[in-house]
C-alpha cells in the first residue's frame, strides 16, 4: 500500500477510530496468503466483513488466531498499527477486529 501522507492521516483520524471498542459478528472472511505491496511481511493474514451491533458493515483485518476465526464469531475493534516506516516515518494507527 502506498504510504499515506501525514495530512491525510490527520484528516481521517476521527473516522479512523470510530469503531474502537465496538463489537459485532464476522460474516465473510478470507485468508490472504499473498498480500499486496506493503503487506508482504504480514502474509498470511485474515480479512473479513464484520456486521456491527448497529447493523453497519466494516471490512477489516481479523486478528486473534486461526482457530477462533469462523462464521458468526463475535469480534471487537482494537487499536493496532496499520502501517509504519516509509519515507516520512509516520506510524499509522487504526482499528482491527479481534475474535473474542
Amino acid at each position: 500500500m502506498a504510504e499515506n501522507s501525514p495530512v491525510k492521516i490527520w484528516r481521517e483520524a476521527k473516522k479512523r477510530y470510530q469503531n474502537l471498542g465496538k463489537t459485532g459478528w464476522l460474516t465473510w472472511f478470507t485468508k490472504v496468503w499473498q498480500g499486496p505491496a506493503g503487506f508482504e511481511k504480514n502474509s498470511p493474514f485474515w480479512v473479513g466483513m464484520v456486521r456491527l451491533r448497529n447493523n453497519r458493515k466494516v471490512t477489516s483485518q481479523i486478528v486473534g488466531g486461526d482457530k477462533r476465526i469462523a462464521p458468526g464469531v463475535k469480534v471487537k475493534g482494537i487499536l493496532r498499527i496499520l502501517n509504519k516506516g516509509g519515507e516520512k516515518g509516520v506510524i499509522e494507527y487504526g482499528v482491527k477486529f479481534k475474535t473474542i
Binding site: F29, W33, P36, A37, E40, V47, V58, T59, S60, Q61
Partner: protein, 382 residues
C-alpha cells in the same frame, strides 16, 4: 450503429512493446479492417486505467493523435477494468446521437514494466480505500464472494477450477491469447494459494495488450460491409465502490441492470444469444456473471461448468477468446477485446474456435467488484 473494423494485438508480457506501440498497432489495424482512411475517423476514445502509474503517461489522446497523425478529438475513458466497455457504450451513443459517422475506440494497457505486487496495489485504486487499507487486493475481494457462494450453494474449489480449464482450452485455440495452452483441474487445485479459496490459476494475469474497434453509422456500415455487424443493445450501470455496501455478495447488481438495459434496447431474449464473453477476472466472477446476465438461475451457474454447455461445441459457449483468465487482462483493452471476439465470431472469422451459425453475441465487462458494468449485444445483419 455498426462495427466496421476490429483488431487485437497479441496479449501477454510484451517487453519489446510500449503503450504507444500497442495503441497504434490496434488503431491502425481496426481502421484498415474497416476499409476507411484515418481522416474519416471523426472522434477517438481511448480506454485505459493505469497508464499514469504504470507507463508514466496520462495524456493518451495526444499520444495517439501524434502517432496516427490525426486531429480529430481524442478522449481518454477510465472506468477501471470496465474502461473498454464504457468506451464502446459512449462511442455507440455518439453515433446514435448523430454527432459522428465514425468513431474509433482503442483500449490499451501496458502492465508488465513493473513488478506484480506494485501492479496489484495500483489496481486497488478501483476498490474502496477502506478495503485497500486492510491489505485486501482484488483476489481477496472476489475470494469473499466465492466464500459466500460456496456457503449458500454448495459449490467447490473444483467447480471454480473447471472455469479456468475451459477458458484455457478456448485460449489454446487463440494465437493472440496470453496463455494459449491447456491446463488441468489438478494443476489449478495445486497452484499456490492467493486468498482462500482462490489460487493462482483461478486468477486472470497481468498482461500487456490493446484492442480496437471502429463504430460507424447505419448508413456507413451498409456501404462498408456486405454482411454488417450491428450493436443492437447497450447497457451500463453502477454500484457501490466497496463490497460492504452491497446487500449480498452473491450478485453484481450493476451487471443485472446493464443486462436489462441491453436486452430491452435490443428487443431480444436471452435464448437468442449464441455466444457470450463475460468478465472472468477470477473464476468465481464467470459463474456470478452467467447468473446475473440471466442465463442461469441463482446458484446454478457452476453446474453449467460441469456439463460442458459453456464450452466450444456446447449450447452457449462462454469466453471463446479464453476470457480474461487465459486470453489475458490488459485492463483497458479487455472490454474492447470482448467486442473483437464477438465480431470475429459473427463474421465467421474465428478460426478453430468458430461457433457455427453464430448470429447474436453478448459482451459483459466489469469494473472493480461491480462498481461499473457494461453489457453489449451484437447481431449479424441478414
Amino acid at each position: 450503429m455498426g462495427i466496421a473494423g476490429i483488431y487485437q494485438t497479441k496479449f501477454g508480457e510484451l517487453w519489446d512493446r510500449s503503450l504507444g506501440d500497442l495503441m497504434e498497432e490496434a488503431a491502425r489495424g481496426a481502421i484498415m479492417d474497416a476499409g476507411i482512411k484515418n481522416k474519416q475517423i471523426e472522434s477517438v476514445l481511448v480506454a485505459n486505467m493505469l497508464s499514469d502509474q504504470l507507463a508514466g503517461q496520462s495524456h493518451l489522446g495526444s499520444l495517439l493523435a501524434q502517432r496516427m497523425g490525426i486531429q480529430a478529438p481524442v478522449t481518454r475513458v477510465e472506468a477501471a477494468c470496465a474502461s473498454g466497455g464504457v468506451a464502446i457504450a459512449k462511442a455507440a451513443m455518439m453515433i446514435k446521437a448523430g454527432l459522428y459517422k465514425a468513431v474509433l475506440v482503442v483500449g490499451a494497457e501496458k502492465m508488465t514494466d513493473l513488478n506484480a505486487s506494485l501492479v496489484a496495489s495500483s489496481l486497488m485504486a478501483a476498490a474502496g480505500e477502506d478495503e485497500a487499507e486492510t491489505g485486501l487486493n482484488f483476489v481477496g475481494l472476489y475470494a469473499l464472494m466465492a466464500q459466500a457462494y460456496f456457503k449458500k450453494f454448495g459449490a467447490t474449489e473444483k467447480d471454480l477450477a473447471l472455469v479456468a480449464v475451459k477458458n484455457h482450452y478456448h485460449a489454446s485455440l487463440n494465437g493472440k491469447a496470453h496463455f494459449p495452452y491447456q491446463i488441468s483441474v489438478q494443476q489449478v487445485l495445486a497452484s499456490p494459494k492467493i486468498a482462500d479459496p482462490l489460487k493462482l490459476l483461478d486468477c486472470s494475469p497481468i498482461s500487456d495488450g490493446a484492442a480496437a474497434a471502429v463504430l460507424v453509422s447505419l448508413k456507413m456500415i451498409k456501404k462498408l460491409a456486405k454482411k454488417p455487424i450491428f450493436i443492437v443493445g447497450s447497457g451500463q450501470a453502477s454500484d457501490s465502490l466497496s463490497l460492504k455496501e452491497r446487500e449480498n455478495l452473491l450478485s453484481l447488481n450493476a451487471t443485472r441492470l446493464a443486462a436489462k438495459q441491453a436486452f430491452q434496447t435490443a428487443g431480444l431474449d436471452k435464448k437468442e444469444i449464441d455466444l457470450v464473453e463475460v468478465h472472468d477476472c477470477f473464476t468465481i466472477a464467470e459463474i456470478l456473471a452467467l447468473e446475473d446476465l440471466g442465463f442461469y438461475q441463482e446458484g446454478t451457474g457452476f453446474v453449467a461448468q460441469q456439463n460442458g454447455e459453456v464450452k466450444l461445441g456446447g449450447k452457449r459457449p462462454v469466453n471463446l477468446s479464453g476470457g480474461l483468465k487465459a486470453c489475458g487482462h490488459p485492463v483497458g483493452a479487455t472490454g474492447v477485446k470482448q467486442i473483437v471476439e464477438i465480431v470475429q465470431q459473427l463474421r465467421g472469422q474465428a478460426g478453430k474456435k468458430q461457433v457455427r451459425g453464430a448470429r447474436v453475441g453478448l459482451a459483459h465487462n466489469v469494473g472493480g467488484t461491480g462498481g461499473t458494468a457494461t453489457v453489449h449485444i451484437l447481431k449479424k445483419g441478414e
